[in-house]
């Protein structure tokens, strides 16, 4: 894998020859670890109640709502028939419409999260381990969205 294959760099449109590319090459370990983190969060062996296609759909949703269209497109390719999660208000089979509102709030209104938001997840049967898995997914994509935007801005993009 070359340095510029990790998805976070690809979606930023940075080339190795640019001055930004030079700066990135000094932090190649960080971009390699970011790619490992993406695999761990989006495509884990132990996925709990969130299979890979649901994770991709949620990542798509978070990236799209943050305005990161290239990152969203990247995740759309792995979504399969869960694509409607991007606009849906609930996950199929979910006892109540709880998960999607939580994803949106934790991703986009983090400051407003309160203990009750976690209690609601527990009340509909989401296990502690699955709550942590979901938060890791939301948190990683929020990181990736901001790295992608930051790099694009450095590269002269909007």
């Amino acid at each position: 894998m070359s340095l510029f294959e990790p998805s976070t760099l690809e979606v930023s449109g940075i080339s190795a020859e640019s001055s930004v590319g030079e700066a990135i090459s000094t932090r190649s370990n960080i971009f390699e670890m970011t790619q490992l983190a993406e695999s761990a969060v989006l495509r884990p062996l132990e996925y709990g109640m969130f299979p890979h296609d649901v994770r991709a759909a949620l990542a798509y949703r978070i990236a799209a709502r943050a305005g990161e269209s290239r990152l969203a497109e990247y995740y759309a390719a792995s979504v399969g028939d869960k694509f409607n999660l991007a606009e849906s208000t609930m996950i199929e089979g979910e006892p109540e419409s709880t998960l999607i509102p939580f994803v949106d709030k934790a991703a986009n209104a983090t400051r407003d999260i309160v203990a009750e938001d976690i209690s609601k997840l527990k009340a509909v049967g989401v296990s502690d381990a699955d709550i942590v898995r979901l938060c890791e997914l939301i948190a990683f994509v929020a990181y990736q969205v901001r790295v992608a935007l930051g790099l694009r801005l450095m590269n002269g993009g909007a």
């Binding site: 670890m33 943050a66 790099l151």
Partner: protein, 195 residues
């Protein structure tokens, strides 16, 4: 009666999880292995034990965190902390803001910058360089992110080179990640009440 802290402080609170952390005695071999990659393996924090529910993420996150915040070259550690503080203030992660305000004060041997931030928040009057850094980090941390080309230009105008701007993007974004774990999965509690 609630002991949860809602105001920003430099005194590091205790973190109380909202889910049941993994019990060390019940941890799987994979979880034990992941817990060893944390900075301290003599006393594992409640936070790390909570994250041990997702072993695969925990294993990769700790070394990535250390690389972004501590690797040599590029932006100074003090200024990377400023990015972490800005993100934590935007996301109202009182725990993260306290830890990194404390680190900023120790690394710079001064409480001047964090005193201003604690007193006036986003209206704090900082030096031109700190103000450009804090403003970029604050706007990158908003949801959706608000940082734009003018903000990058402002960083360049106060003398930041590409490698420093890259480190600022990474440290700020990393705290977008950390805040969404720390602030979402637990509460910051007054330390003295737990002693």
């Amino acid at each position: 009666m609630s002991k949860v802290l809602h105001k920003f402080t430099r005194k590091v609170p205790k973190w109380r999880p909202r889910v049941q952390p993994v019990k060390l005695d019940d941890a799987t071999l994979d979880q034990l292995d992941a817990l060893q990659v944390t900075p301290s393996n003599t006393k594992v924090s409640e936070y790390v034990l909570t994250l041990a529910h997702d072993v695969e993420s925990l294993k990769v996150r700790s070394p990535l965190f250390n690389a972004i915040m501590y690797d040599k070259g590029g932006m100074s550690r003090t200024e990377r902390e400023l990015g972490a503080i800005a993100a934590s203030m935007v996301n109202r992660c009182v725990y993260c803001a306290a830890v990194h305000a404390d680190r900023h004060a120790k690394l710079s041997n001064s409480t001047e910058v964090t005193d201003k931030l604690l007193a006036r928040g986003f209206h704090a009057e900082l030096s031109p360089r700190d103000a450009a850094i804090f403003n970029f980090a604050r706007k990158l941390s908003e949801s959706p992110p608000q940082a734009n080309a003018d903000d990058v230009e402002a960083l360049q105008k106060v003398g930041l080179k590409d490698d420093e701007i890259l480190d600022l993007i990474l440290s700020t974004s990393l705290f977008g990640w950390a805040n969404r774990l720390m602030h979402v999965l637990g509460d910051p509690m007054q330390q003295d009440e737990e002693a």
